[in-house]
């Protein structure tokens, strides 16, 4: 399992910024992002897809979403 980014409680554009920063650093592999709003969930997924990553799973936890993305 790769890195987990905790973007809970942060508003736009922080979750996307943090995701893209790690995508740039890592280039491929797996990433897990924690967000706590629908908006951030959509924005992070959209940003990941635009960088050629795959959204594998969005799991709804108690008070937040866990987004798993990857690139081979």
């Amino acid at each position: 399992m790769g890195i987990t980014i905790d973007a809970r409680g942060l508003s736009c554009p922080q979750p996307v910024l943090m995701t893209l920063e790690n995508i740039k650093k890592q280039n491929k592999g797996e990433l897990e992002i924690l967000v706590d709003s629908e908006t951030s969930k959509e924005n992070v997924s959209r940003a990941a897809i635009s960088k050629g990553w795959q959204v594998n799973e969005v799991r709804e936890e108690d008070e937040y979403f866990k987004i798993s993305i990857s690139k081979d």
Binding site: L10, S11, C12, L17, L20, D36, R46, V55, E63
Partner: protein, 362 residues
């Protein structure tokens, strides 16, 4: 691959929402709202500040039902789609000041970004300077983001915290129904009503309210944001939200043409002045403040509706800023900038730079 199940947040969703707002804004103007001001979040908050007597500029006093509708429509959408989430605590005092200066900047230009787009769609070319300033201010904001600017995390809190702003808005509507406008009277008990000027021009209450509710609903679903449109383009090269505002301009332009509201030119435009430098600088201040606060004035209202207590503080800041702008002669008029408007823009830019430079992680 997980499907985005919210159709409003798809590409065609945001384009549809932009067009929806553009059409209704142009029609609101036809039905009575001021020129190129079918919807203006800055102007309308300013009119509300006047309606309750926070300032006494007698041409801009009216309890605008559109604003009330935006917040309550967003609340309804958030509740129906289970997205209502009460949260607060991300630097509220900073957001208050950003709201104050965003409003002052917008009133030097004479409009929020929404009105900037509507002015463009109505042929008011002065708006080009304002929109250029908006983009410049947002660009400065993105530089701060790249250097770690961050107002910190909000916390989940009691559900009732996020309800305070919608309850305030519902209260304002009740007050308006108890003390409605009386023909030819400047005041009904506690509420002020303009007899002349933009504040006296408005669509019928129920039409304004219903359109406000509808716009609030779809904007919450789509996350429509004029500041985000330019910010995402500059910061991420993403054009998703930009499609929404382009669609808004085209839709409003088409309706304006059809109903004879398109009048191209610089001089003599409604509620507009031709001091290009200050149109640019006022909106640059507003754009920077919106970027640092994470949303345009409209988006802040929708966020306040879905439970964001920090966005609600920004809204209170905007209403306070409007009162300050008119009490201290900072707001522009068709004759040009106010006596202290230029000083206020410079002070506002300094405050925003201070916030951007000092509130960074690492």
């Amino acid at each position: 691959m997980t499907q985005l199940k919210n159709i409003f947040s798809t590409k065609w969703g945001i384009i549809g929402v932009g067009a929806f707002i553009g059409v209704l804004a142009a029609l609101l103007q036809k039905w009575g709202n001021p020129g190129n001001m079918g919807i203006c979040v800055a102007c309308f908050n300013r009119d509300i500040a006047g309606a309750v007597g926070l300032h006494r500029a007698d041409v801009v006093q009216y309890m605008r039902p559109e604003i009330i509708g935006f917040v309550i429509g967003s609340l309804a959408a958030a509740l129906i789609f289970k997205e209502y989430k009460s949260r607060a605590g991300s630097a509220p005092i900073v957001r208050f000041f950003l709201g104050v200066f965003a409003m002052i900047g917008a009133l030097v230009f004479l409009g929020c970004p929404w009105r900037g787009l509507l002015r463009l769609a109505g042929g008011d070319w002065n708006s080009i300077l304002g929109l250029a300033g908006l983009v410049a201010g947002i660009w400065v904001g993105t530089l701060f983001f790249k250097n770690g600017y961050n107002l910190g995390r909000s916390q989940k809190t009691y559900a009732s915290v996020g309800l305070l702003m919608p309850i305030l808005m519902a209260g304002l509507l009740v007050i308006m129904l108890i003390f409605p406008q009386i023909e030819g009277q400047a005041k009904n008990d506690i509420l002020f009503y303009s007899l002349k000027g933009p504040g006296s021009m408005h669509a019928p209450l129920m039409i304004s309210l219903i359109i406000g509710l509808a716009v609030g609903f779809v904007a919450q679903r789509s996350r429509f944001c004029t500041m985000g449109a330019f910010r995402d383009l500059i910061l991420f090269r993403q054009s998703h939200l930009l499609l929404g505002i382009i669609s808004l301009v085209i839709a409003a332009f088409v309706i304006n043409l059809l109903v004879g509201q398109f009048k191209p030119g610089f001089a003599g435009q409604p509620v507009s002045h031709t001091m290009h430098v200050w149109n640019f600088a006022g909106m640059a201040l507003a754009g920077l403040a919106f970027a640092l606060a994470g949303g345009c004035p409209g988006r802040q209202l929708f966020l306040a509706g879905e439970g964001d207590g920090d966005a609600a503080v920004f809204v209170v800041g905007m209403i306070t800023g409007a009162a300050i702008a008119h009490n201290f002669g900072l707001a522009s008029s068709p004759a040009g900038v106010g006596p202290h408007g230029i000083a206020a823009v410079i002070i506002g830019l300094i405050v925003c730079l201070f916030i951007g430079f000092t509130m960074r992680q690492k």
